[in-house]
Structure formats: structure tokens, C-alpha cells
Point group: C2
Chain length 614, copies 2
């Protein structure tokens, strides 16, 4: 059986011992209340909700799934009540602007909560998760009247949102999209009311496109105006409500011309409705400027990709906790070093090196990713709120650079961790009732949506790497360089962590230069290197996190010296951090050599074979 | 949508161009009829059955699954008719002994057929697959009367078999098993009738334990006799029929005391029934000597593990074919080197380096594994039938050595290939209707059953490596050494294949020495190295296959020189072999550096953390 307790101790560690969220966040204008005490209290509340309300619905939600009948979608038993609890407790409003009823708390908090929600019930998380995107879009790009009319209910969670991008013939390549938006004759642009458009087209893979959790659903739809230039430069963003709203009272009016045609039957996230949405002259309103829809999408993309990365992390956490519990409990075979628990029929399988290899891989991924996520999340808040534009730019650079890595690596590692969970459980992991295989099926989507992981890799090498002549890269390289130079000298015990990091980091720098040079001459070289480059970057980024973790843990171990050793859970926490850091340096980080070799092989072995000969 | 055409051309290549099955097999006593022509005709018949009968039932079988009601299991619609066709066409009898109605054909043929069946419909393949094990057990260990009474119907396929090993508290560690066998008073051992025993206990995860495809089901059950010593040395093997059979006419009599208590709801292979079997004083008969049940199991294990390895290969083949078809068809984005098909809205996604990376990884796995499988299969037949005992021993050594590699690596690669298939399809890969995600779910079991892959790795380092002072290892090392020494000299064009192989092979040899020495001093060191050692061994074994493939392809390309280049499908076949060999050497084989680093890190990073601190 799967098991989940929110990792509150580790949140405290990454926020306040590894980084200085307790100082940085409350110093940002508007986040004054985000003190460590408040943050901890909120996370505790969130933990309770996830453990007690959402997690118990995860298995039943998977078995029952969503059902579709005649345009109506029903979520599984218990989801409506759980959503109502979630909403009433203010979670939909967490990071939204106070002007629209939001709590105006840092996004850092929202991302940690989204990890917990994903750990507990990924399918459930899709419903409020999609609303976040819609809230962001309207807050940043909506007209004042659109904001007034739609944001309060969206923030309150009585309405929800969607993002309607994909069409049957286009997903990655949005330049091909065909959905049309025609202005209604006689509506004057710039009047008191927003000008109306008639939206017509078919969108697929629309998460939360139709469901029974909220009174209204606001679709944010990419479509082409009649005078649109071809390709991605002719795409505009529209708000299309399921029920038309005719005043600011929030009363939903008549049904709009948008209808769910069917839902997909999927590998996983079965309790999340994935809809075909048919727009038939549906009334909609322009969000942002005409033909600038892609720009509106891009501003939301960081948050959305971060959210998906946190899903990977969240699933990895549950897989780890569940595999650990099984490995401590299941008796099978004897330790190779002689029976550990001779009074029992067999030893618990955690004595076996190969089982430990799997558990430590999960643990090293989970805690390393969480540290990296905390860093990126804090910088994301800084990039939005810091008074100093230089500091904002610096933070924004780092976030933009690391986002494809967070999205792709976290989801790859989440899938891997879920599969390791199954492997630890053996045949029992394959049985639906035990819940572990669901984590594999649910995790699998995170590598595909919000830009498949290959697209993330292209974003890294093709956009982020060359941007501003490598400025984004330096935002990461410089602090790592500094750390390597200083940490080893300050404490000789750090050598075992700093040396492997330094070696991998040097390789990353060489490869960066190589890929940049090759890619400039021949874009296919960059494309051929992309996935391996992203992975080596991620391994180094996690290596940096683990070296810093070791540094923090050593300092704490010093402080705790003299305390009552093993029995003390705090001492045990830091000892585990050090042991996991050693495991990461010895067993995970050296995997970068494989990626380095693949990069150096270049594009030729990939491009040589003609398509027809495959 | 998934697609499948049996790779008959590649079978011809591996059997007759890469290896000399056409000479070796018909030279074995009893296999005189297995000429290349006959083998090809049989494979063609098998291909037709798999493509036209079994493949079309794969999706529907997954959706419908098996159903259980009151002890009775129904297979999905169409399975009974398909099984009847399979049986009537003689496939259950293919490799069985002619004495019992078998066709007495080489196992090589059986294994290639099992690949095709797994490609088409893994769930279906479980039913006849489990019978193979029962046939082997009875042929090798059954008393003459048991053989006479049970084998003809089993070989004919009107009855089927199972292997009942696992119990709720023991899977890997069979020493813990509790099922009891009590001799019936008054039955004399060694009489004309086989002595009767009363079998009582619960077995779980029993594939094909109950179903509606055959008139009777013969369970081969591990259990303890009253005087059994504890542990694995006190386990005996029993035959327990579902319906008692009282004479050799084959008429099933009264129902025996064995009943299916429930079926598991699983991640995949949903059309294969996985049963809890309750034995309540069921009548059974001893197979082999008392307390020697594990030995009987071991003799069957090579074949069973080979069969599971072929399942991994089979799924990888279907995933590759389906991803290739999608990548050639799906238009999305433009080639980084400029539009390839400017007249279309976009280029097919096979132009993208990262998509090619995924397809070529699948292709390099599939064809490399098939070559290795052919080698092992031919040697398996040699080990059973060759008149020269030295040649038999040599073959048996190689098979024993490579079997854990075939089982673990093929199934890991099968799962990886299925996931790459999903990734190539993007979100469409996640939709059940399209079939690709089913391959992921179905493939996942192959890494778990018939000895989880971690157990295979322990078998390799703990049993096969030290066996006969390393004699088994030399059966593989020597031919590779010879090949490396000779192939490069014979043809300078081979250097690009031989050099990377030589480098990886040298590393494997060093690591072998290292693991053997470390493991001798401290078994946990061997355990810590096991999984990475198996993988590096597999990468080198496939590297050897790809270098030999390149050699064969170069020779053929020479012969075809002057023929009409690209338009000739034969020339294209060999060009693809060479390009894939280059890809393997450049991009896959170098992955061994990661495994080497992990091995050299030793056991300490795995064993340091105390269990409670995980």
C-alpha cells in the first residue's frame, strides 16, 4: 500500500537552513507576512488537507475515473466535497492578488503546496492547477472589466479555468492552429463592455475542460482573428466562459456555445477529465493585444512548467515513502553479510544492497529536487517582487534558465522513482490495489504535457543558452564556481562533496562551450545534444544542491555534537542528509559521463539514416 | 495506433547471415528437418497468426480484461477462438518431444515465435507460455505413468499448465514456503499408479491458474512433505490437475480440491488471468525426487527466463514499429536544417534529431537483442542435442551465463523502448485507444516476474561468475577477444565498430576482476555492484552483436556493389544495419561509463545509512 506524510521537516530545511526564505520573502513588498512561522503554519494546514482529504481519494479516483454522458462530466465520488474543502480553506486564492480576493502569499508557498497535492492525488490537483494559469493570464493581461467580472469568482474557486491550446493536428507546433475568432459586428472596441468575438474550432487534451466541481468554467483559448498573419505570430488569446456572465454580480447566465464532445481514456490521471472541447460560435473576449496570444502564453509558461516539475517531485516523494515502508516491513532472504534479524523468518529487504540502491536513488532525487525547487521558487518570487530591477532581472534569468530543467528532469526522475517503487515491491507493485503502479501511470503524463521533455531540452539549448550572449548561464555558473572555490577551503570535510561536483561542473562548462559552438554552425548539432545536455545540467544542479546540503548538515552536526546520538531524530535527519549526499556524489552524479559521451558523438549518428530506411 | 508486421527479414538475417543456424540446427540429432526453408516457412505461418489473429485482440483484451465469478474465470472475447486456432495449428506442440505428440522442432524456433506472440499480444502468450514450463517439467522429471497420462493432452494444447511457486509471504525467498503435501495412507510408492498426496496451501500470482481456454489445467506446485528439512532443501514438486484423470484416455474426471479464489487487478497484461489458487487437500503426484523440487524448477528456469526476455524484445519491436510509423506520418514543426517538405504545412517529426535519437535507441536495442537472442537460442539447442558432451557443456555454460542478462536487460530495454514509443507520440501516446501506453503497462511485468531483475543481477555475480572458477565467463570472453583481434585486421572499415567495442570490453574485463575480488572478500560488495555489472555486460554483449552485424552487412554491401543503390530494399536493409551499428557504438555503448563509475563506488555509499534513518 502507498503511504504519505507531508515532508514538513524537509520543507523547513530547504527554506530556512539551506536557503534564507525567512529573510528573503518577508523583505519583498507585499510578502511581509510570509514569516517562517506563518509559512510553516500554512504548510501544516496544507499537509493535513493532503494527507487526510486528498490522499484517501487517490486510489478510488483512479478506479472510478471520470465519466462522460451527453456533454456532462462527473468526477469520481468524493472529489466534489474535497474540492469544496480545498476551496473553502482558501487554497485556490493562496498566491492570487489581494485585489481580487487572493491571499497574496509568495509563489514559493504555492509550489510547495502543489508538491503535496501531487503527492496525495495528482488527478485532483489538475482542477485547481489549471485555474492558476487562468488567474495568472487574467491578472497579467486581462482588461479591467474582464478582471472585475471574472477574477473574484476564479480566485474564490467557485469557478475554474482551463488552457485551450492543442488541436488534433497541432500540439508542439502551435503555428498550425486553426480555431477562428470573428468579431461581432457593431461591438465597439474599447467600450465599457469588452468587445465580443465568435470562437469556432476544436481543442483536444483540455484538462478540466468539463467537470462538476464548479459553477462555471472559464476557457482561455488560442485562436486566429480574421486578419491574423500566418504562423505563431497570428494567434490571439480569448476568454470563453461556459456560462455567459452579464454583470459583475457573478451570476452565471445562459450557456455559451462551447461543449465537451468526449473525454479521453488514458493511461493514468483517470480522475482528471481530459476533454475534447468543441467551440461553435462561442462568445469570447480578447485577453491582451490581438495576435499577441503566444506572448501571453509564455508569461504563464514558467509557472505552468514549474507546476508540472513539482508534480514529478510529488510523485517521487510518495513512491519513496511507500517503497521505504515496504522495504522495512517485507521479510525475504537474508543479508549477504549474515542474518540481521535471526529471530525472524527472514530479514527485511532493506538489508539488500540493491534494494538500498533503489531507495537511495529515490531519496537523492527527491531531496535534491526539493532543494533546487526551493531555490528556483524563491528566485521566482524575487523576480516578481523585488524593488531592485537588477536583482529582479538576475532572478528572472536564473528562473528562465532552470525552468526547462525543472520541468524535464523532475518529471523524468519522478517517473523513474515511481518505477523504482514498483521494483522494490516486486510483483506486489504491479497490483492496482497496492497503489504503486498508479504512481507510474500518473507520473507518465508529466513527461508529455506542458511541452514534452524533448521540447524542454530544445528550449534550454536553443533559447535559454544563447539568450543575452550567455547571460542566463552565468547566473547559474557563477554561484557554483564561487561555492566550489570557497566551500572546500572553509572545511576540509567538504572535499568529498566538492571534488566530484567540481569535476562534473568542469565537464558541463566544456560541453556548454562545445554545444554552443557546434549549434551556432549547425542547429541540428544543438538538437542532437539537447536531451543529454539537459540531463547533465540537471545532474550538476542537483550536485550543487547536495553539496550545499552537506555543508548545512555538517554545520548542524557540529552544533548538535554532544547531543544524544542515534536516538535523536534531528541528529538522524542530518546524518541521513550526509549519507544521501555521499550516495549522490558516488552513484548518481557520475552518470553524467554517459551524457557527455553522447553529446560528443554529435549529430551524425542520428542524421545519417534516411527516413525511409528506418 | 500501434502496428505490427513480424520482422521476418531480420530473422533470416540473424539466423543465416549472422549465425549459421541453417547448418548448426539440422546437424543436431532429431532436428534434421530444421532446414532454413522449413524454419522460414514455419516463421511465416507464425507471423500470419500473430499479425492477423492475436494482434487484433490486444487492445480489446486489455479493455475487457479477465473476469472472475465464483471460482470461474472468463478470458476476453475472442481469446478462446484464437487459442483454438493456435492449438490446432500445432503451436503448443512446436518444440515438444515427438513421443508425446510434439513436433520436436528446435527451441530456437519456439523462442522466435514467442517474440512474435509477445509483440502481438503479451497477455494471450501467457496461456500457452505457462504450458511450456509444465511440458518441460513433465518431460524431464515426470514418471513414465505421469508422462503417459498428462503429456499428450498438454502438448496438444487441449489442457494447459501452470507453475505454482509464490505464496503471500514468499516470492523471491522460496525457503519460506508453507504449502504442505501429505501422502495418502495406503498408496504404495512405486506402484503402477503414482502415489497420491494431499496438497494444502495458498499460492498467489498464478498466471493462467484458471481460465476458459482448455478442458483441464495441470498445476505444478511447490510444497513441503511432512519429513521435509527446512528451507529450500525441503521443497518438492507436485502435479495437481484441476480435474482428476483416472486413466490414459484423457477424459477429465471429478473436480479436484483446487480452486481459484480471486484474480488480481493489475497494471497491465489484463487479459492474462493472475490467480490466487487455494489448494484444500487437493490430490497431487510427486514430480521428480522428494525434496528436489527446486532442482526441477531450476532446469526449467533457463527456458522460462529466456521466454520473459523474448517478451521484452517482442514489446520493444511493436513499440519501435509503431513509433516509426507515427514519426513518418505526424507533421509538426520544421527541420532545424530548413524545411524538408515545404509543400506541406510542416515536416514529419522524423526530421528532428531528438525523435531520431529515440527511434534509433529502440531500433538498436531491438535488433541487437534479437541477434543476441538468436545466438543464445542456437546454443541452447546445441546444449541439449549435440552429440559431443564437450560442445554441449560449452553451449550450456554460455546459455547459463547469458540468461540473467537476457532476462533482465531485454525486459529493462523493452520497458524503455515502450516508453520511448509513448514519448515519440507525445500526448497521443498517453491515450489508451492508441495502444502505445498498453505496451508500457504490459512490459512492466516482465521486469518483475520470473525473478525480479535485481535477482537476475545477483544470479550473474553471485552464481554464474564464480561458477567453475570463471569457466562460464570465458565462454563469452574468448570469442569476443578473438573477434576483436581478427575483425579489425581483416577489414579496416571495421575499425569504427571494433575500437569502441574493444574499449568497453576491456572495461568489462577489469570490472569483472574487481567485482570478483571484492565480492569474494565481502559479499555485499558483489551485491552492490550487481545491477550495474549486469548492465555493462549487456551493453558489451550487444556491442559484440552490433560489431558482428556490421561485419556481415559490410560483406553484403560489397556483394551488392553495383546494384541499384537506394531503391533496392536489400541494399537499404544493410545500410540501415550499418547506420544503426554506428549509432549503437556512438550513443548507447558509451553509457557503460556510468555503470563503471557506480561499480567502482563500492558498497559503502549504499550500506552506510542505518535502516531506520531512511
Amino acid at each position: 500500500m502507498t503511504t504519505y506524510k507531508a515532508p514538513l521537516r524537509d520543507y523547513r530545511f530547504v527554506l530556512n537552513e539551506l536557503f534564507d526564505a525567512g529573510t528573503v520573502l518577508p523583505a519583498l513588498p507585499g510578502y511581509e507576512e510570509a514569516t517562517p512561522e506563518t509559512v510553516e503554519a500554512i504548510l501544516e494546514e496544507g499537509a493535513k488537507l493532503c494527507e487526510e482529504v486528498l490522499f484517501p481519494l487517490n486510489r478510488s479516483g483512479d478506479e472510478e475515473g471520470c465519466t462522460y454522458e451527453n456533454g456532462v462530466v462527473h468526477t469520481p465520488k468524493g472529489f466534489k466535497e474535497a474540492y469544496e474543502t480545498y476551496r473553502r480553506n482558501g487554497w485556490t486564492a493562496l498566491a492570487a492578488e489581494p485585489e481580487w480576493g487572493g491571499q497574496g502569499l509568495p509563489h514559493t508557498l504555492g509550489f510547495l503546496m502543489s508538491e503535496m497535492v501531487a503527492s496525495a492525488n495528482l488527478s485532483f490537483g489538475m482542477y485547481p492547477g489549471l485555474s492558476h494559469g487562468a488567474i495568472d493570464a487574467l491578472q497579467q493581461h486581462g482588461s479591467p472589466s474582464l478582471k472585475r467580472r471574472y477574477l473574484p469568482r476564479l480566485v474564490e474557486g467557485v469557478w475554474s479555468g482551463t488552457m485551450c491550446l492543442t488541436e488534433p493536428h497541432c500540439g508542439t507546433d502551435l503555428g498550425l492552429l486553426r480555431t477562428k475568432a470573428v468579431p461581432v459586428d457593431g461591438d465597439a472596441p474599447g467600450g465599457g463592455e469588452d468587445r465580443r468575438y465568435r470562437i469556432t474550432g476544436t481543442k483536444i487534451f483540455i484538462s478540466a475542460g468539463e467537470h462538476d466541481l464548479t459553477e462555471n468554467i472559464l476557457h482561455l483559448v488560442l485562436a486566429r482573428l480574421p486578419d491574423a498573419p500566418p504562423g505563431v505570430k497570428g494567434i490571439s488569446l480569448f476568454l470563453v466562459p461556459k456560462f455567459l456572465v452579464k454583470d459583475d454580480s457573478g451570476a452565471p447566465g445562459v450557456r455559451n456555445g462551447v461543449r465537451c464532445g468526449s473525454i479521453e481514456h488514458k493511461m493514468g490521471i483517470k480522475a482528471s477529465s481530459t476533454c475534447v472541447m468543441n467551440f461553435d460560435e462561442a462568445e469570447g473576449y480578447l485577453v491582451g493585444a490581438p495576435h499577441k496570444g503566444m506572448r501571453c502564453m509564455f508569461t504563464m509558461m514558467n509557472a505552468a512548467r514549474f507546476g508540472v516539475g513539482m508534480q514529478g517531485l510529488g510523485i517521487a516523494e510518495t513512491a519513496y515513502q511507500s517503497a521505504r515502508a515496504y522495504a522495512l516491513d517485507r521479510l525475504q532472504g537474508r543479508s549477504l553479510a549474515g542474518a540481521r534479524e535471526p529471530e525472524k523468518a527472514a530479514d527485511p529487504i532493506i538489508v539488500h544492497p540493491d534494494v538500498r540502491r533503489m531507495l537511495l536513488t529515490q531519496k537523492a532525487y527527491v531531496e535534491g529536487m526539493r532543494a533546487l525547487a526551493a531555490w528556483v521558487a524563491i528566485e521566482l518570487d524575487v523576480s516578481l517582487k523585488h524593488p531592485d530591477p537588477e536583482r529582479r532581472e538576475e532572478a528572472d534569468d536564473l528562473v528562465a534558465l532552470l525552468m526547462p530543467i525543472v520541468k524535464a528532469f523532475f518529471t523524468d526522475a519522478g517517473f523513474e522513482a515511481a518505477n523504482l517503487g514498483v521494483q522494490v515491491m516486486g510483483g506486489h507493485g504491479y497490483i492496482r490495489e497496492h497503489g504503486m503502479e498508479q504512481l507510474v501511470r500518473d507520473a507518465r503524463i508529466t513527461q508529455l504535457y506542458e511541452g514534452a521533455n524533448g521540447i524542454q531540452a530544445l528550449d534550454l539549448v536553443g533559447r535559454k543558452m544563447p539568450m543575452h550572449a550567455g547571460r542566463l548561464l552565468r547566473r547559474f555558473f557563477h554561484p557554483v564556481e564561487r561555492f566550489i572555490a570557497e566551500a572546500g577551503q572553509a572545511d576540509p570535510r567538504m572535499a568529498e562533496f566538492v571534488m566530484p561536483l567540481a569535476k562534473a561542473f568542469a565537464r558541463l562548462q566544456q560541453l556548454t562551450l562545445h554545444v554552443a559552438q557546434q549549434g551556432m554552425a549547425k542547429p541540428e548539432e544543438a538538437g542532437a545534444a539537447a536531451s543529454d545536455y539537459l540531463r547533465i545540467f540537471a545532474l550538476v544542479a542537483l550536485g550543487y544542491m547536495w553539496a550545499r546540503t552537506a555543508q548545512a548538515a555538517l554545520a548542524k552536526a557540529d552544533a548538535a555534537d554532544g547531543a544524544d546520538g542515534d536516538a535523536d531524530p534531528e541528529a538522524s535527519f542530518y546524518k541521513a542528509k550526509l549519507a544521501t549526499a555521499r550516495f549522490y556524489m558516488a552513484r548518481v552524479l557520475p552518470q553524467h559521463t554517459a551524457n557527455a559521451a553522447a553529446i560528443m558523438a554529435g549529430a551524425k549518428p542520428l542524421m545519417e539514416l534516411e527516413a525511409a530506411a528506418f
